[in-house]
Structures are given as structure tokens and as C-alpha cells.
């Protein structure tokens, strides 16, 4: 089908609107000039500066660890939640469970953040690495469950039954047949949770404490003192890594089940 001129124009504008700002960030991260909006020639100096910006690197390391731990937890719990909803079509409180599981998908982050903050305060927990990790786990479980559930929905139950029939216990049938078949979806869910955690500013701001400043928090803090090309460089690094992860996720979830 050929596109009309109007369609082409709106497509170009749409894409430009979405991606031009990002492109500008990438371009200006290679700017030799210290002024963010004036092109002063090509240079990699801001990336070098990034490498010697200890607080920023520390924050990146914190973010990475939080993302890794929370995404792992979310992948496990999200998979279990999806399995429970698929396998057991009837149990007491199933509707409530499903509602509560998927609520964070639509709940404003600020609400999630605030309520978790109140919870941690009420529990008397010191805020830091573990509170952010728990908070991220809580809001990304829903995304993992969604991705895994979609895979389970079109998984023919006769595979697992065939395994049972051939002498596998329920656990063994799950480990040897179902798990390998839904693994791509679990990995996709994990990566999704990972990027969501890496990107999150709002929830982290509420639930973090001293010594657990995440990368988005650090960047936001620096930006309030003025945007420097160094921030552009840091953003570019994040954009590139997130883009890579998103590509992997879409590849994994599109892949035909083995």
C-alpha cells in the first residue's frame, strides 16, 4: 500500500517530535564547547569527564545493582503470579489477586512511591538500597506477570500433560518442559523490569535514603544546577543501553516458541 503525502508528512513529524530531542542530546554529548546549545566541534571529552565523575559512577553502580536485584525478584515472583492465575482458574480471592497484581500498571508512580514511603516509615525501616529495591520489585512484578501470562496463554497444556504422562512429577514436568518453553518470556520480563528500575526517578526519590542515590536521581540533582554536556553524555549512555535492552526484549517476545 502506498502512503499518501499527508501520511508521510505526519509520520515524519511524529517521529521527529519523538526522537529529535533524543538525537539532540546524543549530538550535543559530543560537543567540544562547554555551552550546551552552541556547537563547538566534535569531542569525546564529556565521556572522559563522566569516567572521572565519582558520584555519578557510584550512582550508576547503585542503579545497576538495584535493577539487577529487583528485576530478578520481579521475574521470579511475576512468573509465579502468572502461573497461579493461569493454572488455578478458581480460587478464593482470585479476582482480587489479579486486580492487585495488575494495579501498579495504571497506578500513578507518585502514589506507589508515596504509599511505599509511608509503609517503610511505619515499619521503621532505614531507607536505602533495600527499600528502593523492594519498591522497584513491587511495581515491576506486574509487568513481568503480564509478559509471562501472554506466553502461558498460548502454551498448549498438552505439553505438560505429556510430560506427566511420561512419568514426570508436577515439579519435574514444570522444570523440564514448561520452564524452558516460557523462558524467553521470563527473560523478556526480567529485562523489562530491569529497564523500568533503571529509568525510575519518582519511586526511587520517595524510597531512597542516604548512600543509595540512583543514577536518575543524581542526574536530576545535577541538572538543577544547570545542564552540562556531561549530562548529555550520561544520558546518551543510558539511552543506548536501554535501547539495546528493548531490542532484545522485542526479539525475545516475538520469537516463535522454540
Amino acid at each position: 500500500m502506498r502512503m499518501s503525502r499527508f501520511n508521510i508528512v505526519s509520520l515524519v513529524f511524529g517521529i521527529a517530535f519523538l526522537y529529535l530531542p533524543i538525537l539532540l542530546v546524543v549530538i550535543y554529548s559530543f560537543n567540544a564547547s562547554k555551552l550546551v546549545t552552541v556547537w563547538g566541534g566534535f569531542s569525546g571529552q564529556w565521556y572522559r569527564a563522566l569516567l572521572s565523575n565519582k558520584p555519578l559512577l557510584d550512582a550508576a553502580w547503585v542503579s545497576f545493582r538495584i535493577a539487577l536485584v529487583s528485576a530478578t525478584g520481579a521475574a521470579i515472583l511475576g512468573t509465579l503470579a502468572a502461573l497461579a492465575l493461569r493454572r488455578y482458574r478458581r480460587f478464593r480471592g482470585r479476582g482480587l489477586f489479579a486486580f492487585m497484581l495488575y494495579a501498579p500498571l495504571v497506578l500513578p508512580e507518585i502514589m506507589t512511591g508515596l504509599s511505599l514511603l509511608l509503609l517503610f516509615v511505619a515499619l521503621g525501616w532505614d531507607r536505602g538500597f533495600w527499600t528502593v529495591t523492594l519498591a522497584h520489585m513491587a511495581f515491576t512484578i506486574a509487568f513481568v506477570a503480564l509478559v509471562v501470562d501472554a506466553r502461558l496463554a498460548d502454551l498448549d497444556p498438552s505439553y505438560e500433560e505429556a510430560a506427566r504422562d511420561l512419568g514426570a512429577t508436577p515439579l519435574s514436568a514444570f522444570m523440564r518442559v514448561t520452564l524452558p518453553m516460557i523462558a524467553p518470556a521470563i527473560i523478556a520480563g526480567f529485562l523489562l523490569a530491569f529497564t523500568l528500575s533503571l529509568d525510575d526517578l519518582v519511586i526511587a526519590s520517595f524510597t531512597s535514603g542516604p548512600g543509595a542515590t540512583t543514577l536518575p536521581m543524581r542526574l536530576y540533582g545535577q541538572m538543577r544546577l544547570g545542564v552540562t554536556p556531561e549530562i548529555n553524555a550520561a544520558s546518551t549512555v543510558m539511552i543506548v543501553s536501554v535501547t539495546l535492552i528493548v531490542i532484545i526484549v522485542s526479539w525475545l517476545s516475538k520469537r516463535r516458541p522454540a
Binding site: 505439553y159 504422562d165 511420561l166 512419568g167
Partner: protein, 354 residues
């Protein structure tokens, strides 16, 4: 003792009574077929034997042992699924070896037994292939090898040949029968193809709407069906509602069309059935006096090579007649509208419950 006895088993899904008071037995080494139209509960019954879904009522015994509460992985029964359900992430070898590994068979034995099973189904060269890279017929063979490699006492096959094209299906029917004889394992095959059931099975249970109508050897079901439904489901039959002119004990004088003859029938109402090939088309010959002869007009001719199927009308009564084309010119001489003479032996008339 029979290998499997199913005693008054019922199972409902909501308001649907999928299996309704079914009782049957399967002997050691028997080839048993469940035959019936789609949705009559064949798969549901088979799945209960395998341990997927418990009966609401009744018992399933294997060699006298009640299987209630025995989970599928502890039943000495294997099933070949309608969709084959070959594990897509494992190659052919690992698919077939799956059950042996679960059982904890020694590595060297696994290799030998998988090889043997693959040889039985002529798939030796395919051990390293993934199921995706197999044709429908090859998948079917691998699924079969996977199910027999554990040497179950009973093999359950749910429409094993449904996904194959006609030619392959006919070849595979013979192979399946041969395999069953070689292994000496009892087979329970689900099918809705009556030719398939007749060709392969020692005994067939004809099912309808969750109930078993009749159980018997193929020839028994064909020649001595008990009910109108079985007569119509197995093969082709002319079925009549006769007028009963007189009764003395179990002898009844019946009248259909213009013919009067005697049959042996239990008290109560009954129907009569006559297989199309039991009706003869007379040529010049004088009919045997024991036969009932009728004048008929040909309404329709279906020439099928070996036989010609005729639809004829005798005194307003339509009949199907199947004529063996035993000589070259027999079929060529007939045409629509011809007046012919047909004959049948009252002994060939089947008495059916309505």
C-alpha cells in the same frame, strides 16, 4: 482378569454429561477402539484412564487395582496425544528419552532403548532433529516411539492418524496394527473414522453422547448391530419401521413395502435393517424361492469402480443397493429409470432396537 475394567464411569463438565455410565473391559494385548462422532466423550474417557481428570462416579481398574488417586506419572499407561505434544525444545532423541530419564533408567540402557524405539517406527536417522523440522507423518512416528519406549501395559492413542493425509493414514493403520502385535501391548485407540476402527481393532465400543451403545468385534457390530444408531453409524444400512402383522412368541410377521416375511424379535417395538450389499440385483436368473423379490426402479446411480451404489424405489419405498461389479458389463447395462428386479434373504434382515 481383564487388563483394564471401566465400571459405570461418569463425568460431567458443568451441565454437559461428557461420559455417561460407561462400562467396558480391555484385555491384555487387545487392540480396542473407541468409536463415535465428535464430542461424544471419547477423549474425556481416555484422559480419565491416563489420570487427567477423575471420574465423578464409577471406578477404573488396572489389573484389578483401583486407579483412583493415582497421579498420571505413576500409572503404567502412556498416551499419544492428538496434537502429538512433542517437546519443541528437545530433539527427537531427547523427546523419546524423556520418559526413561524420568524413570531413572541407566544411561547406556536409555541409548539402546531409544534406538530400538526409533527403529520400530523407522525414524533411526532423525535422532538429532528438532520436532519443528519434521513432517506430520514423522512427528506422528516420533510421538508413537515416545509413548511405547516405556513399555506401558496400555497405550492410549487419541486420534493417532487424524492429522495424516489419506494415503499415509492407510499405510500407518497397517503399521500400527503390526506394531501392536509385535509389542504385545494393549492399545486403546480413539477415532471417529469407522473404517479405521474396523480395520485395526479387535473390538470396538461405539459411543454416542457419552454413552456406549454397543461393544463388539468389527464383524459383530457390522452384521449384528443391536440398535438403529449402531447400524447407521457402522457402515451403510437401509432401516425400516415395519408394520407388525402377527406375533407368536418371539416370531413376528412383518410387512415392509410390499414384502411380508418372518423375523425373530424380542417383545416390543423394533426396527429392521438391511445392508445395501445384501440386496441382489437380479439379471435373467430365476430367483431362489427363499428370497424375497421385489420390482424396483433405479432413481440414482453412483458408479464407484469396484461397486455401483444404486438408489432404487420399490412401491414408494426408497432403498440403497450396493452391487458388486463382478463382471465388466454389469454396471454399463444399467441406467437411471430402468426397471429392475431385486432380491434379499429375510435371514439377512437385522432386527434393531429403535
Amino acid at each position: 482378569m481383564p487388563l483394564v475394567s471401566i465400571e459405570h464411569v461418569s463425568k460431567s463438565f458443568g451441565t454437559v454429561r461428557a461420559v455417561d455410565d460407561v462400562s467396558l473391559t480391555i484385555g491384555e494385548g487387545e487392540f480396542f477402539a473407541l468409536l463415535g462422532p465428535s464430542g461424544c466423550g471419547k477423549t474425556t474417557l481416555m484422559r480419565m484412564i491416563a489420570g487427567f481428570g477423575a471420574p465423578d462416579q464409577g471406578r477404573i481398574l488396572l489389573q484389578g487395582r483401583d486407579l483412583a488417586g493415582v497421579p498420571p506419572h505413576n500409572r503404567p499407561v502412556n498416551m499419544m496425544f492428538q496434537s502429538y505434544a512433542l517437546f519443541p525444545h528437545l530433539n527427537v532423541f531427547d523427546n523419546v528419552a524423556f520418559g526413561l530419564r524420568e524413570e531413572g533408567v541407566a544411561k547406556a540402557d536409555i541409548f539402546a532403548r531409544v534406538e530400538e524405539a526409533l527403529r520400530l517406527v523407522q525414524m533411526q536417522g532423525f535422532a538429532r532433529r528438532k520436532p519443528d523440522a519434521l513432517s506430520g507423518g514423522q512427528k506422528q512416528r516420533v510421538a508413537l516411539a515416545r509413548a511405547v519406549v516405556k513399555r506401558p501395559k496400555l497405550l492410549l492413542l487419541d486420534e493417532p492418524l487424524a492429522a495424516l493425509d489419506r494415503r499415509l493414514r492407510e499405510e500407518t493403520q497397517e503399521e500400527l496394527k503390526r506394531l501392536q502385535q509385535t509389542l504385545g501391548i494393549a492399545f486403546l485407540v480413539v477415532t471417529h473414522d469407522q473404517d479405521e476402527a474396523m480395520m485395526m481393532a479387535d473390538r470396538i465400543a461405539v459411543m454416542e453422547k457419552g454413552c456406549v451403545l454397543q461393544i463388539g468385534a468389527p464383524a459383530t457390530l457390522y452384521e449384528e448391530p443391536k440398535s438403529r444408531a449402531v447400524a447407521k453409524f457402522i457402515g451403510d444400512a437401509n432401516v425400516f419401521d415395519p408394520e407388525i402383522r402377527a406375533r407368536i412368541d418371539d416370531r413376528a410377521l412383518v410387512h415392509i413395502g410390499v414384502a411380508n416375511f418372518e423375523v425373530t424379535a424380542p417383545p416390543g417395538a423394533f426396527a429392521l435393517g438391511l445392508r445395501p450389499e445384501k440386496i441382489r440385483v437380479l439379471e435373467q436368473e430365476r430367483a431362489d424361492p427363499d428370497l424375497i423379490t421385489l420390482d424396483a426402479t433405479i432413481d440414482h446411480i453412483l458408479y464407484r469402480g469396484d461397486v455401483t451404489d444404486l438408489r432404487v424405489i420399490t412401491n414408494g419405498l426408497p432403498l440403497r443397493v450396493s452391487m458388486l461389479n463382478a463382471t465388466r458389463h454389469k454396471a454399463l447395462r444399467l441406467s437411471r429409470g430402468d426397471a429392475i428386479r431385486i432380491a434379499f434373504d429375510p435371514a439377512d434382515v437385522m432386527v434393531l432396537s429403535v
